[in-house]
């Protein structure tokens, strides 16, 4: 009975997730990421370099580099892709049916976890296949599939276990359903990302017990490269090299016994969230988890802050009246903006604070203001294009003048308006002092708003955009000298080319979204 139940749970979970549009988006993102991470040595960039020497693109190097970099993506996107199943069950009413079945909590939860693991392993397999294709194009030496498999398993399996276990915990415990779980995981993700690096640096390449929480494998990767290449001066992910120097070659087996044992221990530690998940599982009890909680969370600091700050919406409520008087897409965009602000009084407070700091802080600090503004904005706009669908209002709003296509345009425009509301003083100051940064801010917002609207429209979930956005923000704040990552100008290194590219991307996303809405209306 248990084996059969487990098998069915696993298969159902994998099928459900594989059929989601979010999976398609993730696969496309993975393929794009793969192609970006393997630099072309002919252009002077290599995936792994040490002391100005590139490491040859053997199976070992490509597998190692891609696993180390892929872990960053999988750790974040993987969580947002696999979580939320219990909320779906609650919303659809299937939760009550599941709760009334004889399946035990342990079997049910383990089946869900296994399903998440199988799904993420499926994505890893696609990632690996993409790498094999790249190996055929840019690789040096024979393709050794087993080297890829063992490298991916050693570096990424603990991460997959951890991601799936945390997603399960955040689904199983009612207080973590919704955004609170998202935020908690993001914090944990950043913490586990940073801790091993700090510790390996401090302990001078010695083993540290903190490597047991190095789920993403960054610490293990750093230790391995140091051990194999005998240097601390290396890059993984794209570095310049001296073509006159002969390339280094990584052996096919990179792992010491101690490191293997550490990764095994790390995989076991990754399972720990399953224990509280089992203890705290709501089993869809109506008194512990309600439909509203499945979507938004019953109580959270954000909910509390929204309640406390609710008087602030008096400032923005008149926007509804203004919106009714403004014709066309602009009026509807104002209505969406008003809805966003009235639903989130915290955003009104944030706008007021951002205005004050944007006016009074010195020019050098404006980049930080924009980072804060765009971070808040990104979280808010991830919901804008999916809000109608998630709250079953899309059929009503779809019959408003302009229909679905105008609704898409209005949502995108409202997202841009919200960004302008947050960043207006900075934009004004940059327009006068640093026009290129102002242009980067405007075009970056357009491109990001286009991405949020498009991804939301396709996947019907805000999480796909949110995961990519947070990942992008993290990378952009780390790689502060890369123009293409200076999307909204906060690093001050954007160029005319990147600004132009963002403008084109934003317009392309707008056009694609409008086409997609029309196509969906015709297909439905």
């Amino acid at each position: 009975m248990n084996a059969l139940a487990l098998k069915l749970l696993l298969l159902t979970e994998v099928r459900l997730r594989m059929r989601r549009t979010g999976t398609l988006v993730a696969v496309l993102a993975l393929i794009a990421l793969t192609w970006l991470m393997v630099g072309d040595p002919a252009k002077g960039v290599a995936m792994v370099t040490a002391d100005d020497t590139r490491v040859a693109y053997t199976s070992s190097c490509l597998a190692f580099g891609s696993a180390a970099l892929g872990g960053l993506f999988f750790g974040l996107a993987g969580f947002y892709l696999v979580r939320g199943r219990m909320s779906e069950d609650v919303r659809s009413g299937a939760g009550a049916v599941l709760a009334a079945t004889p399946v035990s909590n342990a079997v049910f939860l383990f089946g869900r976890w296994l399903g998440s693991v199988a799904y993420l392993c499926g994505l890893l397999f696609i990632f690996m296949l993409t790498m094999l294709v790249l190996h055929m194009l840019r690789g040096e030496g024979p393709i050794q599939p087993l080297v890829y498999v063992q490298t991916f398993a050693v570096l990424l399996l603990p991460l997959v276990f951890f991601t799936a276990a945390m997603a399960l915990l955040c689904d199983a415990w009612a207080p973590l359903m919704g955004k609170r779980g998202d935020v908690l995981y993001f914090i944990l993700y950043l913490a586990q990302l940073a801790t091993p690096i700090v510790l390996t640096a401090e302990s001078k390449d010695q083993w540290s017990p903190m490597l047991l929480v190095d789920f993403s494998g960054i610490g293990a990767s750093v230790l391995t490269v140091k051990a194999m290449l005998h240097t601390s001066n290396f890059t993984i992910g794209g570095g310049d090299f001296n073509p006159a120097l002969a390339p280094l070659v990584l052996p096919t087996w990179l792992w010491s016994a101690q490191l293997m044992a550490t990764r095994f221990g790390c995989a076991l530690v990754a399972l720990l969230p399953l224990l509280p998940a089992q203890w705290l599982f709501h089993r869809f009890a109506p008194d512990r988890v309600k439909v509203r909680a499945a979507g938004s969370g019953r109580w959270s600091p954000l909910v509390l802050a929204n309640r406390v700050l609710r008087p602030l919406i008096r400032l923005v409520r008149p926007l509804f009246g203004v919106a009714a008087r403004v014709p066309g897409v602009a009026g509807q965009a104002l209505a969406v903006l008003a809805l966003t602000l009235v639903s989130n009084p915290v955003a009104v407070a944030a706008a007021l604070v951002l205005w004050i700091v944007g006016c009074v802080l010195p020019a050098a600090a404006l980049g930080g203001v924009v980072i804060a503004a765009i971070a808040i904005w990104g979280v808010l706009v991830s919901e804008v294009s999916v809000r109608d669908h998630q709250h079953d209002v899309d059929a009503m709003s779809g019959t408003a003048p302009g229909g679905g296509a105008r609704r898409f345009g209005a949502q995108l425009l409202a997202s841009c308006m919200l960004a302008l509301l947050f960043t207006a003083p900075v934009l004004l100051r940059w327009t006068m002092a640093a026009p290129l940064r102002a242009a980067a801010l405007l075009t970056g917002v357009l491109a990001l708003a286009g991405g949020a609207s498009m991804l939301g429209s396709i996947s019907r979930s805000g999480r796909v955009f949110l995961a990519l956005f947070l990942f992008g923000m993290y990378v952009a704040t780390q790689a502060i000298k890369v123009p293409v990552l200076d999307v909204v100008g906060f690093n001050g290194v954007a160029t005319q080319q990147t600004v132009g590219g963002q403008l084109l991307l934003g317009l392309a996303l707008l056009a694609s979204g409008l086409w997609h809405e029309r196509w969906r209306a015709a297909r439905n």
């Binding site: 009246g321 009714a324 008003a338 809805l339 639903s343 209002v393 408003a400 209306a521």
Partner: protein, 289 residues
């Protein structure tokens, strides 16, 4: 007012949710009746411009709304069967948002509608905390915001208590004096006292379109009443379509749909609208068989 010409909606190969439906709908209340999967919702979604027909035309006051959906959207009210509300928004703010989308500028109308649906005392309560019936009433107010010329409501009385149900039927009747109201429902009693016309759908096709009186008139002499002993009931049920069975002290009292007298002792009965529609459906099924 609204004319459908050979409207087809095909979802996949050989799956026609709506199959060559032609209708001419004047002002009044039109009841759209059919079992699950009959194509009612697909038809309403096309009229509401949410989806497009695979082929055919839908004309509103002469304008083709498939090509120009804007011709109807400003004069349309739509209440889907399943809908929700935004969290953190009061009932009044919810209406303000939709009023802004529809370009309704008169704030007094929002209060009026809230009173009409008996939610005025809850205007500043968060709509997410409303009961199912209250949400539906809020949805009704939303659909009426722009004083629509065409009102489309899908299963409108689901979740309403008897008093609200009566109140809503009366409201729809009143709107139907001047405008077109299309009501989709499974519950015949919801529309029998207010519909000026009924459209019967089955497997995507329009089976009949007529006034309720005509359906009842056609069913006269096809509905029979008889009381049989319990041991004869099973045999009789195997031969005829039983519309209603009720045990009493003399045996089992039956109402039967049949073209001629189904058994000894059966007498013609005055059909209800529901029985008339069932009789009509059985006749179609027999003709198809």
């Amino acid at each position: 007012m609204l004319e459908l010409r050979n409207v087809v909606k095909a979802y996949a190969k050989n799956v026609r949710a709506v199959d060559d439906v032609s209708l001419n709908l004047p002002a009044g209340v039109v009841g759209l009746i059919g079992h699950n999967g009959a194509g009612k919702t697909s038809l309403m979604q096309m009229i509401a411009t949410l989806t497009r027909p695979t082929s055919g035309q839908i004309l509103f006051d002469g304008a083709d709304i498939v090509k120009r959906p804007e011709a109807i959207r400003g004069r349309l009210g739509f209440l889907p069967q399943d809908f929700g509300v935004y969290p953190n928004l009061t009932a009044l703010e919810f209406l303000q948002y939709f009023a802004a989308l529809k370009g309704v500028r008169d704030p007094a109308r929002l209060r009026l509608l809230l009173e009409m649906v008996n939610l005025h005392e809850h205007a500043n309560r968060q709509a997410a905390g409303f009961s199912g019936g209250m949400r539906r009433r809020l949805g009704i107010a939303q659909a009426l915001l722009n004083d629509p010329d065409v009102l489309i409501v899908d299963e409108p009385t689901a979740g309403l208590d008897p008093e609200e149900r009566l109140r809503f039927r009366y409201l729809l009747s009143e709107i139907g004096f001047r405008k077109l109201v299309i009501v989709s429902t499974h519950i015949v009693s919801d529309i029998e006292n207010m519909a000026s016309h009924l459209a019967i759908m089955n497997k995507g096709r329009l089976m009949a379109y007529d006034t309720p009186d005509s359906f009842v008139r056609d069913a006269r002499s096809k509905v029979w009443s008889v009381t049989v002993e319990a041991q004869h009931y099973e045999a009789l049920r195997a031969e005829v379509q039983v519309l209603q069975a009720q045990r009493n002290e003399h045996g089992i009292s039956l109402r039967i749909a049949h073209a001629s007298s189904p058994c000894a002792g059966a007498v013609p009965a005055e059909p209800t609208l529901e029985e008339a529609l069932m009789t009509q459906r059985y006749a179609v099924q027999e003709a198809a068989a």
